[in-house]
Amino acid sequence: MLNEKVICAGFGGQGVMSMGQLLTYAGMVEDKQVSWLPSYGPEMRGGTANCNVIVADSLIGSPIINDDATCAIVMNLPSLDKFEVDVAPKGKILINSSLIEKKAKRDDITAYYIPANEIALELGNARVANMVMLGAYIELSKAVKIESLHKALQKVFGGSKAHLIAVNEEALARGAEFVR
């Protein structure tokens, strides 16, 4: 029974919201139960943003993830500090090691260190670091199929942004590869 509860967190500009939305979208494409819940309000002015994504086989109760995240994807240090505690035992934490030098403290969860910004820069687009992380997450969790994410990308990058699809797909692949 799939019941993935993912926290995506980072700075405002790091695309954590759209990373979460893409995952949600892909889940929907597969006819799974999904929900996406952003933080909002002045906490965002502080510069950090985060969202809760649930992808499940059966009906979702609350869209809030309390301390039972199956995975936290943290793009910056404050997010690591804030959300490490919310991962359920045996859960995963994916850490953007390009920006976070610190290591995860807990030993009842598995930490993955992914140099997302560096990989993104290698791809020539610093803004796809989020997709690198997402690719890694999908590889590890198998929450959705990679094809579903591709479909989701088609939807999200319709029209004038279509040229961005390729690099995003690439980033997903590189992220997956990194943790494979």
Binding site: W36, L37, Y40, G61, S62, P63
Partner: protein, 354 residues
Amino acid sequence: MAKVLMKGNEAIGAAAIQAGCKYFFGYPITPQNELPEYMSKELPKNDGVFVQAESEVAAINMVYGAAGCGVRVMTSSSSPGIALKQEGITYIAGAELPCVIVNIVRGGPGLGGIQPAQSDYFQSTRGGGNGDYKLLVLAPANLQEMVDMVQEAFDMADYYRNPVMVVGDGMIGQMMEPIEFRTPVKRELPSKEGWATTGTKGNRKPHIINSLFLDPQGLEDHNIRLQKKYKTMKENEARYEAYNMENAEIVLAAYGTTSRICKNAIDKLKEEGINIGLIRPQTLWPFPEKAFQEIPETVKAALTVEMSEGQMIDDVRLALNGKIPTEFYGRSGGMIPTPDAIIDKIKEMLGGLK
């Protein structure tokens, strides 16, 4: 229709437009801003009009004006903004005009905060305006239900010539879930021709939209007529969802997003072999009293869970009328109950019952 993924606030707007809403008058306030923003963009494309009013007071009065012309019209706000609309709302109810009002509730009192809350239950169901009026109050728990309800709300409003309020919170407004736009069950809607102000065209008596009755007997008659209508609503419109009621030892009462957290708690407890039920009012007014009056014998106590300091619990107690004890668990100010805290409370109650 295929499912789409939308933010709650935008989905409300989309549902309203689907339902034939052509006019929206509103004023910005967090956490419902995406709704007026969506309407400002989409209504003109759909032959409609969006006006950002100078205030909530003006907005609700614009609604009053447009509703009197017989068109489908909507407004939305959040808690303090709804407080400002109370006079307008009682006028609309008094003049028996159909419209839809959305409240994306935030923590109070006063300016309070902007995180999710349910502390406007009284404001919605008891009315902060003057006089004996009632709104139909719908409380969706997920986005699909919300778009369904928003669509139906317009029909209900027209059917009863009564304002309908849809109550959500920041969670509902901000989250994304897949939704499908479906056509609500059709009601036979009365024609508005007999009362809407569209100009007499010289071939009928003037229509008058009004809530003034200087003669007390006239006003009482009007009230009695309204009460009769409210009674019909009570009989026909009370709705709820019952969850896991079979063999339940305790019944939870919770609405909106809180009910979802309760379900998480119930599911967890089920794994432990503890049976807890949930009655989730989908209409806050009329309150689904019957659901509580008909709880199974196994239920020994009720627990109302709200994001408030305790408001719906009054209605739960009124419905139960002393049948079983009722306790309360709530968080407020934008704090959200956790399944574990609810479970702790339930276990504490179970301990007391034994």
